[in-house]
Symmetry: C2
Subunit: 83 residues, 2 copies
Amino acid sequence: MPNYRAELRIHLRSGVLDPAGEAVQSSLGHLGFAVDRVEVGKLLTVDLSASSPAEAEEALRRMAKELLVNPVLEDYDLEVRAR
Amino acid sequence: MPNYRAELRIHLRSGVLDPAGEAVQSSLGHLGFAVDRVEVGKLLTVDLSASSPAEAEEALRRMAKELLVNPVLEDYDLEVRAR
């Protein structure tokens, strides 16, 4: 089966507090970098085999639903490419 | 000044142990998802004002160097766009 690399970019949903992002923004401010906002998200890279890109994407969406993403707090987008 | 949104995608350097990735891979296996590798990285989204995209990118590279990225363990790529 062909090999794919999927990137799952996980963001906090808008309105969800992001203390890690606020801490980074504050630290940047202390170093003299004025920025308007920082968000700390997760970037999961998953290598897998599947019979097609569509099958790889479908598998990733199930993994996201069952384990990788907390739908109450997080949202995600997904990119699958051959490797 | 125009507003920009920068995305800093932080990966572990190759050869650096990734226990978080291994834990996710193992949990996926227990759920019946066989994947070859999982890497857990960080996705920082930074909103800032700058006079040009090049200036925004330069500022982000300095932030990466001074605070956001640990060059011993991590590598990153950067994308800046208008917002």
